[in-house]
């Protein structure tokens, strides 16, 4: 992130604040001149963007370790807040880094606490808490992303520094996976690519009768790396049926399956995002007729 970008985001944030708009926003804008608060906001935005999409499962283990170490010492502030019960980091942490997947739940909870913490406590403790929380996020997302990460592990980890270090390197070695963590943008890109590839086949599906366009069918798809389908698509859900159109449901299910099968195998999807969490090895397609 360049300064310019950050500034740009900051401006965007301010713009939103104005839009959402309250008079209080105006007050904020006046105060905003103070650098520290702004910087904090920007960093939050970045992290949020990354977090929202994803890295949850991959990186979490390392994060959890650091927080654990730090937690006992810094404990007072955190326990008070909601985040701790949910993350349930203790269990995974002792077990050590190896299982990368246990983390999915924790990442989000930390976010909320961080935001809320400022509210609850305006005193120094809040800062500690926030700092602690932030590093966890950063770690979770990508070790390289957050500059503050280093601080937290060091501060928190006394003898456990080794562990934290060990965890981080491992991640770095698997940098491909890191890059592979599915950001919101990447997920949107892939979804868009898939949609574009199957759209021609969707367009050829024939509407069985009036009202069928209200039905939406979800099918579950598993793909190989070469984009071919594993097994047959499975219908895992639908909605929009009523007394008038339920007789068309089976046909719309057919339409959904034929849409995908006729336009598979998929092509040109990023290999590094194949089997990451939320990757395209396993996803769902939601189909409906137009209208």
């Amino acid at each position: 992130m360049d300064r310019a970008e950050k500034a740009g985001l900051g401006i965007a944030v301010v713009g939103h604040v104005l839009l959402f708009g309250a008079l209080s926003l105006g007050l904020f804008s006046h105060k905003q001149p103070e650098p520290p608060p702004r910087s904090i906001e920007v960093s939050l935005v970045d992290k949020v963007g990354l977090e929202a999409t994803a890295p949850q499962s991959l990186t979490p283990p390392a994060q959890s370790k650091a927080p654990e170490l730090g937690n006992p010492e810094d404990a007072p502030a955190k326990p008070a807040e909601e985040s701790e019960p949910e993350p349930t980091p203790p269990a995974p942490q002792p077990k050590a880094a190896p299982p990368p997947k246990p983390a999915p739940a924790p990442p989000k909870p930390p976010e909320k606490p961080a935001v809320k913490k400022p509210d609850a406590a305006k005193a120094p403790p809040t800062r500690e808490a926030t700092t602690a929380a932030k590093p966890t996020r950063a770690e979770a997302q990508a070790t390289g992303a957050g500059t503050r990460q280093g601080k937290t592990p060091r501060g928190g980890a006394l003898g456990d520094i080794m562990r934290g270090i060990g965890a981080q390197p491992s991640k770095s070695t698997s940098q491909a996976p890191q890059a592979a963590t599915m950001s919101a943008q990447a997920a949107m890109d892939i979804a868009s690519k898939i949609q574009q590839q199957v759209q021609p086949c969707a367009n050829q599906q024939v509407k069985p009768g009036p009202g069928a366009e209200r039905i939406r069918v979800v099918i579950h798809l598993k793909l190989r790396r070469d984009g071919t389908l594993i097994g047959n698509p499975e219908v895992v859900g639908y909605d929009g049926t009523d007394d008038d159109n339920s007789r068309y449901l089976d046909r719309v299910k057919d339409n959904a399956i034929a849409t995908f099968k006729h336009c598979s195998p998929l092509r040109d999807l990023p290999q590094e995002l194949y089997d990451v969490p939320r990757g395209w090895s396993d996803f769902k397609m939601r189909y409906k007729l137009p209208g």
């Binding site: 985001l9 400022p118 919101a184 949107m188 024939v206 034929a258 769902k284």
Partner: protein, 475 residues
């Protein structure tokens, strides 16, 4: 202030998470209208997720389809070995059966069967292992294949397979064993299987129609009772034309036809027994009676009778008996038709000053007017599906229209000089009616139209025709 800030940030983050991500990437200065949707990837889904999608899951939204007729191929049905049967040799039958299926599906207006070069002959083993690549390459989405086999006992077995060439899968299959005389029915049943599976509608091809066959000059028309398959095949006359017949209605059990005849110059309702060919007077009464219609359970006949200058709707057992009056309003109440559950009746009445449609309970209570458009309405018929009532709408021209049983959603399906007398297909998706030409000749023919107003076509009959009554699906 400090209190507010975090909340604002939180709100902002929650509301614009995807946007923020996008902004990072593109550094776009002007944020688009933020969509407060889930951060999951969405490609143009206008509606929110049906089930909350778990956070760790990719969902691709696809919206697409067409209302054009589906491309379908029905190649000639091969036979393992050519054998002579009472209905002809099996290879010829295979070709004919494929044509029956083709015509049925084409006439529904929902399918566009390929013909000519693309429709190549298939081998017997290919029936169960279709060349998906070839057919998909030819633009065919659905493929119907079948075979014909002559059995030792003189019957025929017709196998019918439906494939989705895009999904490269078999959708359904059925086998039909028929006596040689009913060989065409195997084709209709195959077409019904395909139609049902691909549209979700009920079957209707394996059904028959009774109607009034007309010939001769206008002043001296000969009107005969006739019955035929839904596609015009197996046509035969039931009466000789010595007396005029009108408004024939096939009973749901398909054993009898009720109709009005001017036998002995006295218009009355008669019952024709299809099995024996005998006719009998239904209501032995000197009063004028007409407009018969049989109840869904084939036990009752609704009809109209003029007594002392007042015409009302009555019912009488199909087997004969004492008529029971259901309406008593002054004026003409006529044209009664039962709902499919037999619990209600739609009829027409001029009690308001013009012919309008009314609905009442089967016992005559709770009479309620349902038509309020311009012009007048006649010959109401309740759909076998129960959701609609078809009628003749007279406003200048005569048109076929439908509305719900409470009078909502009124719309006309045809727009010509004189369309009247609608009759529902067994599945409630198609209407057959008769269309009279403009001018002095007054020639009428049978037509059908899909409920969506498409697939308007003339039904082939040997002579002119009127007053069609579409029977139920054959057992």
């Amino acid at each position: 202030m400090t209190l507010f800030r975090p909340m604002l940030i939180a709100a902002l983050l929650a509301g614009t998470a995807p946007l923020a991500a996008a902004a990072q990437q593109a550094a776009s200065p002007a944020p688009v209208a933020p969509q407060p949707s889930a951060p999951a990837p969405q490609t143009g889904s206008p509606t929110p997720a049906p089930g909350q999608q778990p956070p760790g899951e990719m969902i691709v939204d696809v919206v697409g389809g067409t209302s054009a007729p589906a491309q379908i191929a029905i190649p000639p049905m091969p036979t393992a070995e050519v054998q002579q049967t009472a209905a002809g040799s099996t290879d010829v039958l295979g070709r004919e059966l494929a044509l029956i299926v083709t015509n049925d599906l084409k006439n529904s207006g929902l399918f566009n069967p390929v013909s000519g070069e693309a429709l190549h002959n298939i081998s017997y083993p290919e029936v169960t292992s279709p060349g998906f690549e070839y057919w998909a390459g030819a633009g065919v989405q659905a493929l119907v294949q079948g075979f014909v086999r002559a059995n030792g006992d003189g019957t025929l077995t017709v196998g019918c397979y439906l494939y989705d060439t895009y999904a490269r899968s078999e959708l359904t299959r059925q086998g039909f064993v028929v006596p040689p005389s009913d060989w065409r029915r195997a084709g209709h049943k195959c077409a019904d299987m395909v139609y049902t599976r691909l549209t979700g509608e009920g079957p209707y091809f394996d059904s028959r129609v009774v109607y009034v066959s007309e010939s001769g000059p206008k002043g001296h028309r000969i009107k005969r009772l006739a019955i035929m398959d839904q596609d015009g095949a197996n046509h035969r006359f039931l009466t000789n034309g010595q007396s005029i017949v009108l408004t024939p209605r096939l009973s749901p059990d398909q054993r009898s036809i009720v109709y009005m005849s001017y036998l002995n110059d006295r218009p009355s309702i008669y019952v024709y027994d299809i099995g024996t060919g005998r006719q009998r007077l239904l209501v032995p009464d000197t009063n004028l009676n007409f407009a018969p219609r049989v109840s869904p359970d084939s036990r009752w006949v609704l009809f109209s009778m003029a007594v002392a200058g007042n015409t009302d709707v009555y019912r009488v057992p199909l087997a004969g008996g004492t008529p029971q009056r259901l309406t008593d309003a002054p004026g003409i109440d006529t044209g009664g038709s039962y709902s499919p559950d037999g619990g209600r009746i739609v009829f027409e009445s001029d009690r308001s000053g013009s012919q309008q449609l009314y609905v009442m309970n089967a016992d005559g209570t709770q009479q309620q007017r349902i038509s309020f458009g311009g012009g007048s309405y006649a010959t109401p018929v309740w759909s076998p599906r129960g959701d609609l009532i078809a009628y003749t709408h007279m406003q200048g021209n005569f048109r076929i229209g439908v509305m719900s049983p409470v009078g909502a959603g009124e719309r006309n399906l045809t727009d010509d000089w004189q369309d009247e007398g609608p009759s529902w297909s067994p599945n409630g998706r198609v209407l057959m009616f008769f269309r009279a030409t403009q001018g002095g000749s007054g020639v009428a023919d049978l037509w059908s139209v899909d409920l969506t107003g498409v697939a308007l076509r003339r039904i082939p009959t040997p002579l002119d025709g009127s007053d069609p009554s579409w029977g139920p699906l054959r057992p």
